[in-house]
Symmetry: C2
Subunit: 393 residues, 2 copies
């Protein structure tokens, strides 16, 4: 039976046009874009074309503000560490939120160990940061605010525009981790008032291991990777040209098809949420109804373990996840779910459904039916659930 | 006319088998190797297979000691900065050489700006570091020695094994930038006595933007990219699986075909050196006859500019370079060539010929003939050369 992929937060399949562009690039054997000869210049032009496509997706008018990286994690590390180091003489205080991705958390933890002070803001039950909290946390030592654009576990979209107005007024650099947003929802680096924005190609059906960092002109930042003069001296290293070409094509298509994709995945999301009560009960939806990713539904199913649900659905060829693939192997409950107020037990019973362009209504039907069966089976053997039912009776 | 590529130091074409493996990977739409479900496990197995191939190429018995990166530059930055930061409490002194790649130089310059002390050793006329100089430079504050395996401008291979014996005896970490060696000449991380070794896939006809860092078990090092648990917690970020698959196949072939490739490129190199005097005079060969890369010839052609030679050869569809593509745009004479004792003028007249598996004797013939024509033309209009000739007459 065909595998139903409802784990698009972990990996998206490549679009046919992206595949073709990458295959053509493989056959082309491009030279090094930094080489002085004709073949080098040809490669440099191809690199520029991809940069323009990606810049357009961000509504960034100067493609030189786009730095290609090896993916979202590098972009985030580059943004946070690069800004902290370059501005350490001005101050040592950084503001973030409690629900960031591990790339942000661990970069900040590292900086903290070397003397930086971190303020981590709490979020409301929808997983949202209050812009006023950002304003209140700013001190004369604050050099950077890093708040994610959308959360990869709940789908919550943050009020980045409002936060950006505050940071801009106070002349403090603002980075947003938009890895799960760029290519999926409209992004405009100017409207958002951000100085740095991290993104990843695979979110918009480009290859993994390729991404980028928007760095507004004039932003004081150190490179993370130093050496050659590539990427306008902001990121050294011979480029992953095949991957970048794939990302360029993916960006072009994401921009062209933004509306139809939005309507496709949000239609499936609505169907799933509408029909879920007909299949299971006693669950919590962690994804806010307003301002959330159109393709993500986080469901905490009470009295059972999310890990067991994932494994049993996997046996029925349905792929979902309990959280970010980057956190696989961690036995601790998700810091994001605890931050929005879930109990440890409910957090452990959480599934993240990530819808994609390749999903159909049939996939949602198959998922709901299988979920009903799995949840019934697991609850039948759950002492917690039995106790709960006995108490109700 | 077919382009003759004698710029293999800047970029190598992909092998047909590597192309096919990457194309198959593109079609396969692998899941995220960190995902918990079956598709994720399949991707994780494929990642492991590539890691084993690469480990075998380094004669490394524990594949977990191989960390995949976005290329040589990331590997070098990771090794140098990661070791320096993680061992800063033990000491702040690092030893290197005067002829390293910019990735090493700029990483060390950055560390210097934050309080580390750098000793940069000079080299002899062959571009070689004297191991005794390393021993003499070690202090009780020394935490790292970083000396490249082979030089990308002269082809000089360093006495890494001897230097490694010294660092091992003194229990100091030793990194070698082997970006231009791995896959081209036999490398054995154990015989070399290194703790860290940087390499790049494109050197052995794998894709660009992919590489790795050998990190001996027990080496104290901080990750450069932090976030998820990928690469055994040594390098976060969703993997560039398509590129890594290509590198794995390239590594396997490099190991299998090492001898035949060595004999192919060194045969062409010998021919070029043997026949060069029949085509031009008054030049200096900067590549030592013993212990140098089998595919590299550095020629300083006196009384003319290397840049002009590159451009004129380019017009005849022959690609060569004056130096590392990573240093393109720099107008200064190469620090490597000045370090081996060349005058500024001779350094500026230098060509780096990088031979590859796709080159033929016909390519060398075409190059020599074209070079003869170009050099004659340029010298005819060179006031320097005219003056020199008048003085001789």
């Amino acid at each position: 039976m065909k595998i139903v992929n409802l784990d698009h937060l972990s990996a998206n399949p490549l679009l046919p046009e992206v595949k073709q562009a990458m295959i053509d690039a493989i056959h082309a054997d491009y030279a090094n874009p930094s080489s002085q000869h004709k073949s080098g210049e040809e490669a440099a032009e191809i690199l520029d074309r991809a940069r323009s496509s990606v810049a357009a997706l961000l509504n960034c008018s100067n493609p030189k503000e786009v730095v290609f990286t090896s993916g979202g994690t590098e972009s985030v590390n580059h943004a946070i560490k690069g800004v902290a180091w370059a501005n350490a003489e001005k101050g040592n205080h950084i503001i973030t939120s409690n629900i960031e991705h591990n790339a942000v958390i661990r970069s900040l933890k590292r900086l903290k160990s070397t003397g930086f002070k971190i303020t981590s803001l709490s979020v409301d039950a929808d997983g949202r940061v209050n812009p006023q909290d950002v304003a209140d946390a700013i001190t004369d030592k604050t050099i950077l605010v890093s708040i994610m654009h959308s959360n990869n576990e709940t789908g919550t979209i943050q009020p980045i525009e409002e936060i950006g107005r505050i940071t801009r007024a106070k002349k403090i650099l603002f980075h947003t981790d938009a890895v799960d947003s760029v290519g999926l929802v409209p992004i405009d680096v100017n409207r958002l008032n951000v100085d740095l924005l991290s993104f990843s190609s695979n979110t918009f059906y480009g290859p993994t291991g390729v991404g980028g960092l928007f760095v507004r002109r004039g932003t004081r930042i150190w490179p993370l990777l130093e050496g050659g003069v590539q990427e306008h001296n902001k990121r050294a290293g011979t480029e992953n040209l095949i991957g970048i070409i794939g990302m360029g094509v993916a960006a072009e298509l994401a921009r062209r098809d933004m509306e139809s994709r939005l309507s496709h995945v949000s239609g499936l999301k609505e169907k799933l949420l509408r029909e879920l009560p007909d299949h299971i009960d006693e669950y919590i939806i962690n994804t806010p109804a307003d301002a959330s990713l159109p393709n993500l539904v986080s469901i905490s199913i009470q009295y059972i373990e999310g890990e067991s649900v994932v494994l049993m659905l996997d046996d029925e060829d349905i792929a979902v996840s309990t959280r970010s693939a980057c956190a696989t192997g961690s036995l601790r409950a998700s810091h994001v779910l605890l931050s929005i107020g879930l109990s440890h037990a409910d957090a452990q019973g959480t599934l993240v459904v990530g819808l994609g362009m390749d999903n159909t209504e049939g996939d949602v039907n198959r998922f709901l039916k299988a979920l009903q069966h799995v949840v019934t089976t697991l609850r039948n053997i759950s002492p917690l659930y039995q106790k709960h039912k006995a108490a109700q009776a």
